[in-house]
């Protein structure tokens, strides 16, 4: 299983139609399984709110700098102002969201994907690579 030629020496430019149809049927079948639907739902349930959150949080920075310039120039600690602290917080926001994503992926997405792969083994009839 070392090389990419595992499914035949020369990969033809156009796959034979009969095989293509059989393939598609099983992919569509897999798509309809409970496990896969659950995986899709779980992913979007995390990704959509997280994406909306980081986009809003990020664009707040230029918006506030432009629209509430006076407020952003207010000093908080010594000479460190709101604008600098908010910009710095973006880094920690990004790291924190990345950490949340990885934790959710290892705990929820990966086991679900594993279950789909196991299901695929019975549908496609061969062991899919991990």
């Amino acid at each position: 299983m070392a090389s990419e030629h595992v499914h035949g020496a020369a990969v033809p430019a156009k796959a034979p139609p009969a095989e293509a149809v059989a393939d598609v049927e099983s992919w569509a079948g897999l798509e309809e399984t409970q496990e896969f639907k659950e995986l899709v739902r779980a992913r979007w349930r995390f990704v959509i709110p997280a994406t909306v959150f980081f986009l809003v949080y990020y664009f707040m920075l230029p918006l506030l700098n432009g629209l509430a310039t006076g407020f952003m120039r207010t000093n908080v600690i010594g000479d460190v102002n709101v604008a600098y602290l908010f910009a710095l917080s973006q880094f920690f926001m990004a790291w924190l969201l990345a950490w949340f994503y990885v934790r959710r992926a290892t705990r929820v997405f990966d086991p679900l994907a594993q279950r789909v792969r196991e299901r695929a083994r019975s549908v496609i009839g061969r062991t899919p690579p991990a």
Binding site: L39, T51, Y58, G78
Partner: protein
């Protein structure tokens, strides 16, 4: 021999050594384009950081902050937050469905000839504008940082090629990048990027440490000193927003112009990273989707830490040296050079902590780091551009798509090497020709990131996640996004120096118009294509890409352990 030339030769020696070692591991296509998919997650994270943090971000950001204070920091923030898009939506699905290039993912669902051709156009447009900026910057930097190299080589470059005299500094950078890519392919490129990332992080940590040491690690007095630096034009202190983006001065479409420019820049930074071909390509070098995820996390850690440190470098240069003293030659000048903020800071810190020789050594070290930085980025870009030419266009469109031929491994790798050579020569020539007339630093953020987000991102996202998407939408999005971005940029104020007084398009950051336009093209033409019943295959194939993207079933296999 002076210390600068010595350190420069050490960098060249190490990278050529890597290339010699890698040359034996780049004989097949999977080795040449994807390093045999044997790169580990953390290694790829370092390589992504090395591929991404260009001289524009190291020297450019430090310079922007040193000259404009807080507003220069905006780039740093966007460049990190952008990786959330990559992590959530792009990295794992790309690895699970692609082979060597972005177009592989698109061509999976849609008829390969039109889609690959369009993707090759946008890939080359992004890589070419990115490359031009790097090469022009490289040329002027090498001249200033390692002047002996340029003057020694000058006599050998007295001839003209197609009416343009080649720039010796640009030619040296170009020649090295061609050697890495042609001889060592992705393996050499990856390890050059890893070495560079380590050097760059080391340099940034060292300089930040010395800046803080100068203030006895008293952050209060450091920030106090920054706030005491005043901008000459606006009178604002360097901690305050509004120096680079002069809010409240003029308005466009009834909205503050500086605000629109800043938002427009933010859109390109946040969305563009996920469409940069040389970054996307890196995800095909790891063994599976999980490793791709891990590599983004490593990259985010490195890139974020680095950009936080750029504030110490930029603010350090602003407080310890001052804008008026950051010069190409001498200590005070009329036209300070912002790219030299970090090198001059290194010189200053070296002198103040280690005596005269220390300044020379630290300056030489930072010059070598900057040089390694440039080499690693241009190598990644050359590989991405040549993959679009050879893998997408020559092998899959011309030979397989039109001629229906069987293309051997040997031929594919040979063509890959030849196109890398052509890309290298073309960029040396173009960069020498454009020279100082082009606003190089603005080119990356102003054009490369915008095309990536207006053309590549909609095509990738819709291919992966939108069932109805078809070849009409893909081609229209890729070409529409590219053409609109280039056109607006060309007629806007950002392209030429000095900036025109009344440009036909008012903004130098064009993303706010061209990014929605790219997405809109992709959506509208998908529905038009549906009416024409053009591409039924795309919807049928969606089931497959949908399952594969999220589960990794059928993904290109990783190598068996040797």
């Amino acid at each position: 021999m002076n210390v600068t030339l010595l350190l420069f030769l050490i960098v060249v020696g190490i990278t050529l050594g890597i290339t010699a070692w890698a040359a034996r591991r780049s004989g097949t296509t999977v080795q040449f384009w994807a390093a045999g998919r044997g790169i580990k997650g953390w290694q790829n994270g370092l390589a992504i950081a090395g591929d991404y943090m260009s001289a524009a971000s190291f020297l450019g950001i430090a310079g922007l902050i040193a000259f404009n204070g807080y507003d220069g920091f905006m780039y740093s923030v966007g460049w990190l937050v952008a990786y959330l898009t990559v992590l959530f939506l792009i990295a794992e699905p790309m690895r699970n469905t692609g082979k060597y290039t972005m177009a592989d993912v698109l061509a999976y669902r849609m008829s390969p000839v039109p889609v690959r051709s369009a993707a090759a156009v946008s890939t080359i447009a992004v890589s070419a504008s990115y490359m031009m900026a790097q090469m022009i910057g490289a040329g002027s930097l090498v001249k200033i940082l390692i002047p002996t190299l340029d003057t020694q080589l000058k006599p050998y470059f007295s001839w003209a090629f197609l009416g343009t005299k080649l720039d010796p500094s640009i030619a040296v950078v170009g020649a090295l990048m061609m050697v890495y890519v042609i001889a060592g392919g992705m393996v050499a490129t990856t390890w050059v990027q890893i070495v560079k990332a380590v050097l760059l992080m080391g340099g940034a940590i060292l300089l930040s440490f010395l800046v803080l040491l100068h203030f006895n690690f008293n952050l209060g007095s450091f920030f106090g000193k920054i706030a005491s630096v005043k901008d000459a034009k606006t009178g604002l202190n360097f901690m305050e927003p509004g120096i680079l983006y002069t809010y409240g001065k003029s308005s466009i479409w009834g909205i503050d112009k500086a605000l629109i420019e800043n938002i427009s820049l933010g859109m390109a930074l946040i969305l563009g990273t996920a469409g940069l071909p040389h970054i996307l390509m890196r995800f095909f070098t790891v063994s599976n989707g999980k490793a791709a995820r891990g590599s983004v996390v490593w990259a985010m850690g490195l890139i974020g830490s680095f950009y936080i440190m750029t504030t110490f470098l930029g603010f350090g240069a602003a407080t310890l040296i001052g804008k008026a003293h950051i010069c190409s030659t001498g200590t005070t000048c009329k036209a300070p050079n912002s790219n030299l903020a970090a090198p001059r800071l290194a010189e200053y810190l070296g002198n103040s902590f280690f005596g005269t020789g220390g300044g020379e050594f630290l300056l030489a070290f930072i010059a070598a780091v900057a040089f390694a930085t440039i080499l690693a980025v241009v190598a990644g870009l050359t590989l991405a551009a040549s993959s679009a030419f050879s893998h997408d266009f020559y092998v899959n469109v011309i030979r397989r798509g039109v001629a229906h031929a069987d293309v051997s491994e040997r031929e594919q790798v040979l063509v890959a090497r030849i196109t890398a050579g052509i890309v290298g020569l073309a960029s040396i020539w173009l960069a020498s020709r454009a020279g100082a007339t082009t606003n190089a630093a603005a080119l990356v953020a102003g054009l490369a990131f915008v095309i990536a987000s207006a053309a590549n991102l909609p095509a990738i996202l819709f291919t992966l996640f939108w069932k109805r998407f078809n070849k009409w939408g893909a081609v229209a999005g890729l070409l529409g996004g590219t053409i609109m971005s280039v056109w607006l940029y060309a007629i806007g104020p950002g392209f030429s120096l000095p900036a025109p007084a009344h440009p036909a398009f008012p903004l130098s950051n064009v993303g706010i118009v061209s990014i929605p336009f790219g997405f809109l093209c992709a959506i509208v033409f998908t529905y038009i294509g549906e009416l024409a019943k053009a591409d039924k295959l795309a919807e049928v194939k969606f089931h497959e890409i949908d399952v594969r993207a999220l589960t990794g079933i059928g993904a290109e296999p990783a190598p068996a352990p040797a």
